[in-house]
Symmetry: C2
Subunit: 338 residues, 2 copies
């Protein structure tokens, strides 16, 4: 039985926990935050296109904080938001539960270069990339609604540390093993990819996330209204997506030629989807803009790419992030005096 | 006695009405909207750095809609917001009260090219530009607080119509006469400028309004926080202001060399001023973005200027305006179907 610690049990994490346990190969300990009391009492109520309706479901164990590594976890799966510019970072958050050189860290999170601070802190551990396409949300405390099939792409991140293991057999084996556990119940589309293909899948998803999510967040429009609102697609979305595609090419990732058109029209207009970044800004939450947009922007501009639209979006989101931090009391300013 | 119709009796308009009547040379008929009932009953309560505290003040006459021109007005002073992309436009709004070829139209409004649709509709009338620096707000219905001195710059707009009068003696005389009436009580700084200088003063104010107001509106930051929030000034405000200065130069308006630095630091940080465009976006109101930003952008880009920051700000505000229109029911979209 593989011991797995799950950090972040919202829409994506809870479905991951369910999949990991459904095949009978893993025991999941889940760290819950806002829904801890509710789930301890009643369990999760899950409505899933893959699993049907399940009530009173709980993973093997529930905790309300990250445990210390006295108990060894084979894998730590992280599905929290990744706010690079606020504490605790993902690396800090999971730190107590990591067995150095042993625990495999699975980051089912969006954005680029998210593995770097983790490798920095744990240079001897394997870190896996999870690119998820599940459309699953916690619609009320402890109530999870998964409206689209779970599609998860798993591969090893290359370890950049001179003392690390690079891309090696251990990391590939850990990725394959994780996919085996996740897929054992036969209800999901969880796919292994070689480490060399990880950047492709992360950049591919960024074409959408770095542009659509950010522009929705800044304008307050959902994905349907973005397409209906006059020239927003042509004036903002398409230029931004073209810049991300160019940045990907600059780092050696060649995305399909039709990717921009495909990403622009990937959501049916009348679905009126609200990307989580839009929800976050509306609710006064911090956003993942540094990993979603800042990192691809830095990768591209460092290689001489001109990325004016992405630059503007980035600075706007950085200003909004500052405002949210100040509203949350994370930044103190002089008092009003005029 | 000069007959003046005032359209828009909020913070700016009410102080204008007070100044116009204080000198005893004009009789003001004010068109009120949201504060009509309150002011009819109790009058205005005005706290003014120029006039002191005045209670139960009313202009000579109060109306709740634009009157027809059976009664002739020598001047119509417009202090409403100027939303170019929504009906009624300023020209449509004031139309019933205009005596063609006679009534002098005074636009105390922000933005560029605001006179063009007015000249189009009334090619034989004089149109005056009012650039106001008053810091006055309606802090509650019928309660006006003016915290900074009234400084108003009046000059004639050049009439672009082949059948119009161009810049002529009549227009200059009308501007001088208006300044005389407005200044008669000796409590304000109301200044006449020749028509040739009007573009300078309008562009000069735009350096601030087209950039600071728009960036505050998009980021949700006030003018103090804009300066405190890391690199917002250098990444957004300064580039945008430089572009407006370049656009002004392209149309032949040479602004002072230090104008960008001056505009960036014109407000004390700890005043934490909230530009009206920021308030408007926060309250779900339409904004004047077309005249404040769209027009200077079009003037500059039509002359080959590169204005990337202004372009992004413009498209972002255009998207936000579309959202507000849709929220207000001015735009209908297909219903949700997925």
């Amino acid at each position: 039985m593989t011991n797995i610690l799950l950090v972040g049990s919202g829409g994506v994490g809870t479905i991951a926990a369910l999949n990991l346990e459904a095949g009978g190969l893993a025991s999941v300990t889940a760290v819950l935050r806002s829904n801890y009391n509710k789930v301890t009492t009643d369990g999760f109520h899950i409505k899933s296109v893959d699993h049907g309706e399940i009530t009173h479901w709980r993973p093997s164990k529930i905790l309300n904080k990250i445990p210390h590594s006295e108990k060894h976890f084979d894998y730590i799966v992280v599905t929290t938001k990744n706010i690079a510019d606020a504490s605790p970072t993902t690396a800090e958050l999971i730190s107590p539960a990591i067995t150095p050189g042993k625990t495999v860290i699975v980051l089912i999170q969006n954005g680029l270069n998210i593995e770097k601070p983790v490798f920095e802190k744990f240079p001897q551990n394997v870190v896996l990339s999870g690119v998820s396409r599940v459309d699953s949300h916690e619609i009320a405390t402890g109530v999870i609604e998964q409206v689209d099939h779970d599609r998860l792409i798993i591969g090893a991140f290359a370890n950049p540390n001179p003392n690390g293991d690079g891309i090696d057999a251990d990391a590939e084996a850990a990725a394959r093993h994780f996919v085996q556990i996740y897929s054992a119940a036969g209800k999901t589309d969880c796919r292994y990819i070689p480490a060399a293909e990880v950047p492709f899948y992360r950049w591919q998803k960024l074409v959408y996330n770095a542009c659509m999510n950010t522009i929705c967040a800044i304008t307050g429009l959902d994905t349907g209204r973005i397409q209906l609102a006059g020239d927003v697609v042509e004036s903002l979305v398409r230029p931004a997506m073209n810049e991300i595609v160019a940045a990907a090419a600059a780092v050696g990732v060649r995305l399909p030629g039709d990717i921009v058109d495909r990403m622009i029209s990937i959501d049916p207009v009348t679905a009126y989807l609200r990307p989580s970044m839009l929800e976050d800004v509306g609710r006064g939450n911090l956003t993942e803009f540094e990993n979603i947009l800042g990192e691809p922007l830095r990768e591209g501009t460092a290689r001489g790419m001109s990325m004016p639209t992405a630059t503007f979006l980035y600075h706007t989101l950085k200003a909004i992030q500052w405002r949210v931090k100040e509203e949350k009391g994370m930044i103190t300013i002089p008092s009003k005096s005029v």
